[in-house]
Symmetry: C2
Subunit: 220 residues, 2 copies
DNA sequence: GTCTATACGCGGATAGAC
DNA sequence: GTCTATCCGCGTATAGAC
């Protein structure tokens, strides 16, 4: 076969197949040949649609970022509620595709959906009265927490091999081999606990900042 | 050359060279051939000391974990201070080797230093009066935050290309191209702000937990 | 503009000689 | 314990068919 009447491939189809492959078998399984086979096409055909493998990976990552709901960032929305709803939506999108998180955690790069997200968070905080410097820090720290929580399941990181946790070496880890049983609940509980603690701690700071600003007549 | 009188290689020497290579040029630069060249040795010689490349990588990662100070977890130490000091030491160790963080964030695996760390944190929290379930969650959420913050510089994630931040697309990101200028300060500020917020929020919860436990006569 | 065939160099890993 | 030789899969460049 040479040039078919209707194209076999499209960016959409390639991205979808690539994401499915990465979700199912990890980042390493995404090879151009493997992906091409999955699409019933021969290796280098992909290069008609993407310049390099990295460009393809970028598109895959941004398609995941596109699943994050940003509708809570409407003008006038109170920042703690908006941040809470966004963090949950963000985590849900990443947790559905944990294997792409190491790529996405490197920063927004030039990916439009990632930049849109950063813009929305920063905008909400500034409009709520946070000084710009603080808003930058809070955007960063929320990203730290959410990507860290999505990067890998905490509970799954401990091998289930009970013999590993010798009381002489690890006096407090005796039950660690049973963590995997409640994996999802532990990860979600840790995320929710951390999120609420973070928001409480930031609210404390906001009161102080607002008070300081009122007294001194503006911060920067 | 065949078998030398005194071995040219040792696990120590290999690990040190591998870590230097990963730090300087990233995870992708760590190939068995490249590493062998760096050690003035021929490719497959490394397989006399490590079964697979993954085993080598595991050893490299655990050597980084070994740099984390755990001395603050002495019996009787107040948990907020211990957690604060540990988080800083943990972040410092990871920030010195950001390229290995994606590997290490996957969980402790069977790496002894990683397990020792998890054991120390959990033990301190339980001895301080946190219920075991809460202690597990707090260990997880602290790991989320610290690994997330070490995974990549927030500020460096935004391209310096000013033309990228078109006000029509990203109304609040106008100054984002200048983030890289103060990269280190932004990352550290975000980490410290998040850490203090987290500890404040957890302290609030601890008071409630302790009160509840006092009233109900024990939690678990 | 979209596909196939072919080819190059580099990656991890193994086998066997010394 | 280290070498050389070798295998196979990878990303991707190039050439040519339609």
């Amino acid at each position: 076969m040479a040039r078919p009447r209707t194209p076999l491939l499209s960016r959409e189809r390639i991205i979808t197949a690539a994401l499915r492959l990465v979700d199912a078998e990890g980042l390493d399984a995404l090879s151009t040949r493997r992906l091409a086979t999955e699409l019933s096409v021969s290796g280098p055909s992909l290069y008609n649609h993407f310049g390099t493998k990295d460009e393809l990976l970028d598109a895959v990552v941004d398609s995941v970022m596109g699943e994050v709901d940003l509708s809570m960032f409407t003008p006038g929305a109170p920042w703690p509620e908006a941040l809470r709803a966004w963090a949950r939506s963000y985590r849900a999108a990443l947790a559905a595709h944990p294997n792409v998180v190491p790529v996405l955690a490197q920063g927004p790069g030039r990916r439009p959906n990632a930049l849109r997200l950063a813009d929305a968070v920063f905008g909400c905080l500034v409009e709520s009265g946070w000084p710009r410097g603080q808003a930058t820090r809070i955007g960063a720290l929320m990203r730290y927490f959410v990507t860290g929580s999505a990067l890998a399941s905490f509970a799954a990181g401990f091998p289930e091999d009970a013999g590993l946790y010798d009381a002489a070496d690890y006096p407090h880890l005796g039950e660690a081999h049973r963590l995997a049983e409640h994996r999802g609940a532990i990860d979600e509980g840790a995320f929710e606990t951390g999120l609420e603690a973070l928001l409480d701690g930031l609210a404390l700071r906001f009161e102080r900042t607002a008070e300081g600003a009122r007294r001194a007549g503006g911060d920067r």
